[in-house]
Amino acid sequence: MSGPVIFGVRHLSPAASRHLRRVLEEVRPQLVLVEGPSDLNDQMKWLCHPDTAFPVAILAYTRAAPVRTLLYPFARYSPEMEAVLWCHAHDTPCRFMDLPSSVFLGLEEERARRWAEELARQEEQEEEEEPSAEEEEGPGDEEGDAGESVYRRLEIATGEDHDTFWERTFEQIEDTADYVSACHTFGRELRELSQDSPRRWSETLVREAYMKREIQAAVDSGVPPERIVCVCGAFHVAGLEENRPMTNEEFSRLPKADSTATLMPYSYYRLSSRSGYGAGNKAPAYFELLWDCFQSEEGLESLTYRYLVRLAASHRRAGNIVSSAEVIEAARLADTLRTIRGGRFPCLADLRDAAVTAMGHGSFAELSVAAADTEIGKRVGFLPEGVSRTSVQEDFYRQLKDLRLEKYRTLEVQRLDLDLRERLNVKSKEAALIDLRRSFFLHRLRVLNIHFAALLPSRQEGANWGEYWELRWTPEAEIEVVESSLLGDTIEGAAAFALRERADNSAGVAEAAAIFRDAFLCGMPAAAAHVLTALQGLSVDAAALTEVAAAAEQLSITVRYGDLRQFDSTPVLPLLRQLYLRACLTMEEACQCDAKAAPEVTTAMEKLNLLQLSHDFLEEERWLGLMETISDRDDLNTRCSGFAMAILLERGKADEELLAREVSRRLSPGVPADLGAGWFEGLAAKNRYALIARLSLWRHLGDYIAALDDIDFRRALVFLRRAFADFAPLEKQEIAENLGEVWGVDPRQAAEALTAALTEGEQKVLDELSDFDFDDI
């Protein structure tokens, strides 16, 4: 044989790794070429670093937004890894030979561009997710209809899912020569069947031409061809044997994206969940077990009991009882199942079905937790310090260590409760404020949209000094960290940039104030100052009352809790005053609104009331005067007037007499029912206990209802019903008792009348009510 040795693999297949090692030992190559992005050879040395723990992935990404990414995940049992590690151990040169990642990304950009054009042409079509590069790997090099149908057809023909078929047919082959020929035949057949997806197919051809070109270059450089081993997906073997290499001219025509790459830790969970393609790896932990078996003396013989014992242990840990007898029965059953289908050893499907039958009482649900643990596993990769990482990643990990958050870098969700107050019983300032610094860090991640920590709602206890988080590390979070390297070199720098950018683009004061609060939570005074300037600029423009109130509320929080977060709030005060004044001046005008807008206005009133109460540098007189005016005026939305009255009542600025006068004025006969009831609704929105306790109020209400004629009564009924809708049952009962007293009704008789079944006449009246014409309401 004169040509290079082409070894077809299935990605992430332990058997492929095992046979590949044998081939490498036999051929003793001078050069090994591996399917992988040829511009990322420099990442190899880190993959071989003794402290690197798999799974890890190479992440290539474009330097400009929108960031496109390309992932090459590797497990310890990946044949590609086996080749790289073998070469490392034997001082043999090893290179990636697939299209450079920049070209992959370039092709993707090109595709996205075409897609966008397509989209523009035929409007309203839902955006589809970009096919990720990961899915483009493998002997099953295609997805979509054509690819699916190949695997579907295979599944129908074998009556088993594709992974099981592969495992039974290929994974257990003992002889290397048999494996190679079986695998190559399979790849060739698959190739025949999947040429009907033109786009995928053309990409495959381009990739193969490039790989061929790399091989040719290696041969031309003087390495004896028979001493070159090429590792690629079995799918490509025929392509590499038959197709012609790409010319320089062709290569220069390929689109290239400005991109760079980094390494990142990966997880088994991600490896299993992102396996929508033919070379899927649904059970990484199981495959690792398989790999361990290959390494051990007993070989695959031991797989059955290794799997079952592990599963049983995990099931017991979850609090269930599994006897050894059941494990033994499962092992026997698995072996019998294997004989029915053929194959040398039970495969995962046999083992799992046997376990479900003998240990799980026939239901997979019982074993599902243990099965996930045994088959998918919780392994998370690790990269040693100093590995080629983006500076943001470095910073992220440095801070995790610094803030003692490393133990939260797991796939399980963990709670973290922070106490932002300074601890007085520790020596260094650093330690005293560790929770505050953690809070800053986590908020910065939040601002950067890195989904590592989620903020939980605060609890009653410690509402102002406690912060509650849920932390969970995922490879996605790692990717997000990498993506934020576009914004800066450190987490803080990137967060500052993100905040500044958001502030400069913000359209209104409320939005800007929310950004300001983010900056405050992140503990970044400089960024906060920048946002404040932007906020100031925006506040000059006319803004709606609700927005001003929301902005003032945000600023108020930073002033009130500034000390806790070591934040100097003096620069905020003038702006807060300014917003307060603005709100007061526009309030009356805002109260001239329709029923739909009224709730928003009353919310804003409530916010400003709280604002005034919590900051005594804001003039109280102005506020109370304003409330009185609104309460007095007849031409404003009555609900707003009612609410103003409620505020006055709450603050003790309205006495019994004033209330009585207002009630009879607002609820006098002749005032349209919706206006009267609207006013009452506004009044009842606040300090209810005080209202319920005032019998005189209910007397007035009783008189009012008595004075209504039939049509007005129906109208009023609708509004009053709404006003009382969000009262608690107990409150409603007390109101009913009050009214009962006013009307002189005996509570017991009333209860009897109310709980009695409706007569037909009453039912009719109620039905008529549902037909009530609400016209403008």
Binding site: I321, E329, A349, T357, G362, S363
Partner: protein
């Protein structure tokens, strides 16, 4: 065999004798001790759809092939097999055919009821003879389980969860020790190779005793699901109706696809509590509405049509049968059925209209 024509229901091994014999004569794989054919042939017998030596093997179980494999593999490992499922998921059917294929004898059955006693599992006595001559082998009445142990074959225990727990417990020692002691005769009967038990249990029946963990541990448990999709269920219903009706001389035409589809659709929807497209939630009825019930419903409709109608199933026949199947004695079922008629069936369009009318008329009567 001569009078087999007059038997209401033949055991599986006689009904499918030709198929079994063809499989046995074509056997090439190793046969476990006490079995008549290899596990693979048993699988072929049950899943069917092939021709062996010119004999067409009909499918017996149409659900998941994998479950059948697990069941057979369990019997190979001499473990007892417990089939669990809702009523009408072909538990007894599968158990009968397994025994027929493995031993050529599916008749060693203990029917579990609330009145089943321990003696019916182990052994009992011919009391006249016991009193006359004292304990002896002749005075002993052997149970199906006893006989299966002696001959190394499969005993079936139907509806095991209906037995009282002490009766269930009687099985424990038999399954773990694989021997039966007869203290009266100073006898220990060891189970011959090939002995095993197939038990069936119901999950949704009323008056069911829980099985003890000790007993459960002695079984490999296979849960039989309700048919996974519409197509499978329609296949099952159609084949079984054809088989049943040919045995019953119903004088009516077999229901057409349309009728089968309607019945299966209604059953599936009411069972699942949602329309097939999943868009509308429905109330579920108190009855189980199993596939078996759909089969008996259609044969029922055929009987109606054959005896009192024109020999073809009309929508009125279907409506009457449906009403009887869906509305059991509870008031609540009536409401469910009415709601189903008005909310779902009425809106299904012209194909369903006449069935809807027929159902509504019956409902008002």
């Amino acid at each position: 065999m001569s009078d087999s024509k007059n038997v209401q229901r033949l055991p599986a091994e006689e009904l499918y004798q030709r198929e079994l014999e063809a499989l046995i004569s074509a056997e090439r794989d190793p046969i476990p001790t006490g079995w008549r054919m290899s596990p693979k042939s048993v699988l072929t017998y049950l899943t069917g759809n092939t021709i062996v030596k010119g004999v067409e093997i009909t499918p017996k179980y149409m659900g998941s092939r994998r479950l059948v494999e697990i069941a057979i593999a369990t019997l190979v490992t001499d473990r007892a097999l417990l089939l669990i499922g809702e009523p009408g998921t072909a538990k007894s059917w599968l158990s009968e055919h397994l025994a027929a294929a493995v031993n050529g004898d599916s008749t060693k059955v203990v029917q579990g009821t609330a009145g089943t006693t321990e003696e019916q599992i182990r052994y009992s006595w011919n009391y006249a003879m016991l009193i006359a001559r004292g304990p002896s082998m002749e005075a002993m009445v052997k149970t199906p389980v006893y006989r299966a142990m002696e001959t190394g074959s499969i005993a079936r225990v139907e509806e095991i969860s209906r037995c009282a727990s002490e009766v269930q417990d009687a099985l424990i020692s038999i399954l773990s020790e694989k021997r039966l002691s007869v203290p009266e005769l100073g006898l220990e009967v060891p189970a011959a190779k090939g002995f095993s038990v197939i038990a069936t249990a119901n999950t949704r029946d009323k008056g069911v005793n829980d099985m003890s963990a000790a007993l459960k541990r002695r079984f490999n448990i296979v849960v039989l699901p309700t048919p996974a999709d519409m197509e499978t269920e329609m296949d099952i219903v159609r084949t079984r109706v054809a088989q049943l009706s040919s045995g019953l001389d119903l004088n009516a035409k077999k229901p057409d696809t349309d009728a089968v589809e309607k019945v299966v659709t209604i059953f599936r929807e009411l069972r699942k509590g949602a329309t097939l497209d999943g868009k509308q939630k429905l109330k579920t009825t108190s009855g189980v509405l199993s596939t078996a019930e759909a089969i008996s419903l259609l044969t029922n409709a055929m009987a109606l049509a054959g005896s009192f109608g024109g020999g073809t199933i009309t929508d009125e026949d279907l409506a009457a049968a449906l009403q009887g199947a869906v509305v059991k004695d509870e008031e609540q079922d009536k409401v469910c059925w009415k709601e189903y008629l008005e909310n779902v069936m009425k809106k299904r369009g012209s194909a369903w209209l006449s069935l809807y009318r027929a159902c509504r008329e019956l409902g008002q009567g």
